[in-house]
Subunit: 451 residues, 2 copies
């Protein structure tokens, strides 16, 4: 039994402690939990034997920094993770409470288990293991762990921009993605960008009786429906003029590799998604639709009377949360401009609309021809005993673009989540064998780069 | 100073007590308040000197019954009102709390002040005044006051159907409508019917990450948007096949009378509704649109993440509350059937829908050629010193159809509300001079019929 295997129990207990902190970044009442989670990460880094472990406080939620620079002449990696999590609602759909980790069938269930506390903890424990065993690391490492990933990560960007010397690294390692399938080691080489905002719609300035005024009064919920239908047609095609102008198609090589990936559309639809059938642009293959095509999705809507029973009101206002996922080479600023101007144009008579953008980030694609990706792929293969595949993700990790832009550091996105981990949804889980293999893989990765 | 004038203070205090009871019928936690309001009405009828004052309990919220039958050979009127109210939300838009009556500018502000506690109290106090002054009434009266008007009034119908002998009357008097304009005495001679229901929409069986699945997963909010747009076009035309087949147009005489009513569309839109412009079927005049055309309105919608900040989820389900107002001779059962079958047809791929109907009632139109309407119009003219006008209302009072069907009793809808009373909305009010004139008018009405 090797060192890592001997410490499975410790790793699990530490992870549970981390998962019990409800560090929900989008809800301001959880500020104290954000602080607690940041301090937990700092303390773990300190215990692992890293230097300079500290909170970087100022604007927004604290960043956690630490470093080990005892291998002069060797490469330097910047390890990234995030300690904040998504809100757990709808709460009543969780089989066990979201912040009381529960183990069922080799999985640990809790909000943040896969996204991203479990994966952040992999990075920490891999380094911890090497330092405990050898008293040193084969290469230099820096950690930068943030607490605003789920709300757009605005402040990490300005910090990275302001400290290029301190954060200087040859490559970044991001442990916040998933494997394409169970037992299939995977490196993610592309992410979609995002524009996320709220659409506020106002009809009359107060609620109206639907009997007295129905047929003459503007209805903001109907208006949101008309706007949503004007934004996206029934085939999933987004109707904002100019929206697709800069969209780059994936290369023929990428398309061919994607076609070889093991994907059972029926299982994907029925088991993983729990849906009856897939939707979206009908003439574009599934993986291209979710990895390399932009989207427009409504995440939430609220308006009028939604309590028990009946209330015959025409509400004064309604609001919807809407995002657009972006692909290379779409420009978030330009998309925001096109979106705002189109919504203005399609706003129905008698209705006022206002758009509030909450966050935005461009898409990013990483080249597969680098020693960093090669070493990552090799480490994965040694631990998982299978050939590593390259995928893209439909999600957005804005920090990848930030590291490229300000540090000129390419990212290695080595993730250990699984497609059915329910991230951002009830019953989020993390597969424990992947948690342990992740720690071993990251340790191996450092050793390979140190050779 | 006559008897009624001497008692303004008492009437106001009694009304305030009535308004302080939050008898919201659509929220089950207010059951005790429903009971309290019913007992208040019963006690007031008893104090007025009526016989048999009692609660009729059994199914649903109690009905209140009372009678005075001491005028043999004279006509019998059945007085109807309701003691239940709409929910007060959105609470933060009230200038004074909805269940703490406040007087500003000759108006009393409270939920239920106009709809319908103030108007129900008018009926009670008119009878009270005559009995206190003369020890008897000029004609026979029965009271039937319900507590489910705002939730469809299902149980009053079965009660009326089961007790035609007890409730036998020559005509019903319903004090639950409004005057066409301030100082313009009005009798309402037509009401729209209603079908009210919930539309439940399901995509996947759990919430999904919009990055990973966006572009392929069915989105129930987008589906509701598509369904709403398929149900009603941007010109307010309802697209359910067969929906308009039985719609009767108003007579030329009615149209001519409506065209003579004092209506300033700009004031109606901007001051009364607080809107920028009117919407709806463009080639149909405003009053015909709200009185004699069917509608389809969405009253509330809820789905996905609607908290503070951002959550990138494709929700599993969403729900909308939708009603259709009906006009003569539309049949609610047939409309429900057409609606359900059309929604089934237009449900987008990957989506499941379910419709739950909460209430329904047909439209009703009352003939103006009767001694009851004539006496009502005369009483109004004597008190208001102006010629009575006849209007219809876009609202729905299902009991009018019930009285016609089971008692063969036409209804006199004599209302004292005003168009800007904000019924069903924040800051509902009742104009106190109309409250006092209402009591006097109803007293006068009984005297005229007793001659």
């Amino acid at each position: 039994m090797n060192y890592y295997q001997q410490h499975h129990e410790d790793y699990l207990e530490g992870l549970k402690t981390f998962l019990r902190i409800p560090s929900i970044s989008t809800l301001s009442e959880h500020k104290p939990d954000i602080q607690k989670a940041a301090e937990f990460v700092r303390d773990e880094l300190k215990k692992a034997g890293l230097d300079q472990a500290q909170l970087i406080e100022g604007q927004g939620n604290p960043l956690v920094y630490a470093e080990w620079l005892g291998a002069p002449g060797k490469p330097t990696l910047l390890f990234y993770g995030h300690y904040d999590v998504q809100p757990p609602d709808p709460l009543d759909e969780w089989k066990s409470p979201p912040f009381e980790p529960a183990i069922r069938n080799d999985n640990i269930y809790a909000r943040g288990s896969a996204d991203d506390k479990g994966q952040t903890y992999i990075l920490i424990k891999a380094v911890d293991g090497l330092l405990k065993q050898h008293g040193k690391l084969p290469i230099n490492v820096k950690f930068l762990v943030e607490g605003e990933e789920e709300v757009g990560g605005e402040h990490i960007e300005s910090y990275v921009a302001s400290k290029p010397a301190r954060l200087k690294a040859d490559a970044a390692v991001i442990c916040d993605t998933e494997m394409f399938a169970p037992e299939l080691p995977t490196i993610c080489v592309g992410l979609r960008g995002i524009v996320y905002g709220e659409l506020w719609v106002q009809g009359a300035d107060h609620d109206l009786h639907s009997g007295i005024y129905g047929g003459a009064a503007p209805n903001p919920i109907q208006a949101i429906a008309e706007i949503l239908c004007a934004l996206k047609d029934a085939q999933g095609h987004i109707r904002i003029p100019g929206f697709y102008d800069r969209v780059q198609k994936p290369s023929d090589k990428e398309r061919a590799a994607w076609a070889r990936l093991p994907l059972n559309e029926k299982e994907y639809t029925e088991k993983e998604m729990g849906a009856k059938e897939l939707v979206g642009e009908p003439d574009i293959p599934l993986l291209e639709r979710t990895w390399a095509r932009p989207t427009l999705e409504v995440h939430g809507i609220r308006g009028g009377f939604t309590g028990e029973g009946a209330k015959t009101v025409i509400p004064a206002r309604a609001v919807a949360k809407i995002s657009m996922r972006l692909v290379p080479d779409m420009n978030p600023k330009e998309i925001i401009r096109l979106y705002k101007s189109y919504v203005k144009k399609i706003t129905p008579p008698g209705i006022r609309t206002a758009i509030r953008i909450l966050s935005s980030a461009p898409a990013s694609v990483v080249s597969t021809d680098s020693r960093w990706i090669a070493a990552g792929a090799e480490a994965l293969e040694q631990v998982f005993k299978k050939k590593t595949v390259y995928m893209r993700s439909g999600g957005s990790i804005p920090v990848v673009g930030t590291f490229q832009k300000f540090l000129k550091a390419p990212s290695v996105m080595m993730g250990f989540g699984l497609p059915d981990d329910n991230i951002h949804a009830p019953n989020e889980k993390f597969h424990l064998p992947n948690f342990y293999r992740g720690i071993k893989t990251v340790g191996r990765f450092l050793e390979l780069l140190g050779k």
